[in-house]
Symmetry: D2
Subunit: 280 residues, 4 copies
């Protein structure tokens, strides 16, 4: 289904600096039908693709102090598929592809090595991997309060599991950490999210189930079929909207996502219905 | 120069399990002249290459309970080069290749995002990047006590910077975190190390200086030209000697590294001589 | 009921040093019927009472290098009382005595300020304070694995709540932190524990319920009526068996506790029976 | 010297609640010449003295929802003394009084047990205890940036030593932790501070040197002879301006401190001049 997505970013630089922006719709199974990116002034910029080739980083070289405005617009067919997960028995480590294995490793914000007992105790007895991850998201949803401003850029899953408050980023980190602790590869996914109120960048996570990357969102804030993928990575450290090098200050961010086709039917997971959505 | 390296690993499994072993000499600029890997019994195993194509993981499928013995032997020409770093002015973020950029991100054991002020305060005024990283290693060497058993698998750079004790792994993590905090890409490097006493797996780190990955070792335990590379990664989470899936217990590890050519001259960095060693 | 308790401690000093030992039965409601304390050699020692006057610290001044052996023996009537807690509605902050109020504050190992949401979410709906704390101990008992060697002197309640393994000290710290997060004053209690296998120093915690300090033990390892109190404090930082100043090394500890009267009936709490045991 | 101090606090309660306020000038060597405390409405309040008898807590019982305004005014002769510390050789653990010993223990925000190596390495060679603590304050002043809003109620010395930013509370916690790691008892001291710009509550710490509690302030923001003591404790957990029980919200705080005598000469420590100021 088609979505019109937009992002406007404003920065002030106080000296020549470099800004790496990651707001473009990712390459992969989704189809970018139209796309436009403008940087004000005569700033030099180039696109670089980051591993695993899906994230698209725009590197902006600012020659002088001043204000910089970046504007991205795209029409994207998000092209997800619905995956039957009824037989999602755990994928043994024997079968995981090399480029999936690294998503078992703990990362900056997802210290899965510290959550082994908790994860096993809480979710270890669920056999079906889809239901296991769905139970993780339900547990996070029930135990963690969505509270803007309660966390910061240093907050990790190890904090959130105990402090029980956070935003979408924290919900995703905790989901990822619990999956990895149970030997389910999991990765962070930054998205445009239709029907997110108020509009902003959103974060979910993907778990590797039955040989596919299935999307999960422990915040339950948006339908799972209205996402446009921006970036994937081990955690938020890999998928920052912007990395600033030099004396640069972010001023404002505006995001929008609108459906471009008729007949959007919001899709949420139901316990008992073993069907996952995959964007990969 | 040629080195004969060996690793013997012993495990007990109590049920069918999977062991992923990472002791093979890495692919890359070094040349593997001979190589032999044996797993006792009729265990099925395969080699998988992990990103970035250099690490070689051996995946062993154990069909039943029992003892497993893995034995690796190789003759490797470590083929490093000496890099003149006299003009190693900082590589701006504008120039970093996409596959290098990710080594600026914080990772599980290298929380560079928390060390920004300390790194800038301590090392920010050094202009030459080689001298900057050398100063980091000197600072770690002077402030952190090498003390076996003082740390564990959860210890990170954020702990070590304050608690000031650790082993090679901790020295490397702290070096990496400080580099990244200064916008110098850095990565973890697991190696066989000639003249390490007692023999064991060793860890160093590589910093991206003047367009090359230069090796550093804040422990100063071994000459920098006697290393055979096993694995690189963001930190120890990516380069574990073994990852165990299922009920498996590690019993013992034996490592050896001997020089196979005449005329080995131990090479250590000297402050004032801006020459780094690169294995990449 | 009478108990015969013993503790033998051995240290090596390498220079003149000070050792402060805390193994004497505490003053308070329990009655010390006989007592004997010996330090080998001609070491000078004195008893100092620490706040709140119940803990008894023995300060030993070692004049020279050598081995030091301390031996404590006592016969103590532990003199607890059984407190009916059926009407243990929360004691409002209005009614707490000044010397109780400080046991609401977070401490080194009991970061109650970080556990507010978790505690409220998990236990907030239980009205009776005795049942609330009993539910805390049941939760800890069910979720945390008693595992010798899994933690160290730096492990705190914030770690244990997530990592879910520990020893008596960790169980007590977590219990205390959860109580304080719920505005129930709680303190650490080091004890001799009859029927502890193997014999060692033990730790419990006391919660202030219905105007009395009631003992709780989330490990469920020993009957609650077989304890002889050694020390109370905010957490383990206040009640160390020994604090060593100078170059001193602890060698060994031996502890024993035997009942001295007939007819000991082990007493454990039962859910539904609102009766607590108080040693204060 | 006389100081006129004031504090105005405003709260909103949404149900009956308890507020414990700690803004009164502490008892001890300073002399409270005049004092006035008003709580708006017909709120019931009482004063309770907390250990160690110096802190004065006002407990307010709010009967209903509404706004509460507390206003404190006092004239205090701060009555400090200047202590010659030229011979401040370390006070051995043998000589510390029991009520001082507890200030060697780690506490919630001062994890001295984790800073032993750093403290010893950095300051261990300084013999005079006054100069040692002065060097600690200089080190904090040089390495930690005073930055409003950079920390929160959970920030501890273990964070500040690495992250190197904070406010007066964080500076005090780090000073305390480093002292304790060097076997110098240290405690937190909340004060009114003349010449603090802008006016607010301030925090310092006291170290036990040459048998006296000597005041230190690593922020260097105010003269050390213009302080009026409000509370002492192990750290900020013991000396909160207000503890709120129930649904209460703090709205605003206003603080003032003016000198009431002529001839105030600001007093700061000088390295080389071994003279400390003691308020105890």
């Amino acid at each position: 289904m088609k979505f019109n997505v937009k992002a406007d970013l404003n920065y002030s630089t106080f000296e020549p600096a470099v800004i790496i922006v990651n707001v473009h719709a990712a390459r992969g199974s989704q189809v970018i039908l139209e796309e436009n990116f403008i940087v004000t002034g005569d700033q030099h910029f180039t696109e670089v693709a980051s591993f695993p080739d899906q994230n698209r980083l725009i590197r902006i070289n600012t020659n002088s102090a001043g204000n910089i405005h970046c504007s991205y617009q795209a029409v994207v067919d998000n092209a997800f598929s619905v995956v039957n997960c009824e037989n999602a028995t755990p994928v043994g480590a024997w079968w995981l592809a090399p480029d999936v294995l690294c998503y078992l490793n703990p990362s900056r914000y997802c210290q899965s090595d510290k959550l082994f007992r908790l994860a096993t105790h809480q979710f270890g007895k669920i056999n079906n991997d889809f239901e296991k991850v769905l139970a993780i998201t339900e547990w996070i949803y029930s135990n963690v309060e969505y509270l803007s401003g309660s966390t910061n850029a240093e907050t990790s899953a190890y904090d959130t599991v105990t402090q029980q408050a956070g935003v979408c980023r924290d919900f995703a980190h905790l989901g990822i950490a619990l999956c990895r602790a149970l030997t389910i590869p999991a990765r962070y996914c930054a998205v445009y999210a239709y029907q997110l109120v108020p509009q902003d960048f959103h974060a979910c996570f993907e778990a590797f189930i039955a040989g596919r990357w299935i999307i999960f969102d422990a915040t339950k804030l948006v339908p799972l079929n209205g996402l446009v993928r921006i970036a994937i990575g081990r955690d938020a450290a890999d998928t920052a909207v912007a990395n600033l090098f030099g004396n640069v200050m972010g001023n404002s961010v505006q995001v929008d996502s609108q459906v471009g086709d008729d007949g959007f039917q919001p899709y949420y997971y139901l316990s008992g219905r073993c069907e996952g959505i995959s964007y990969a």
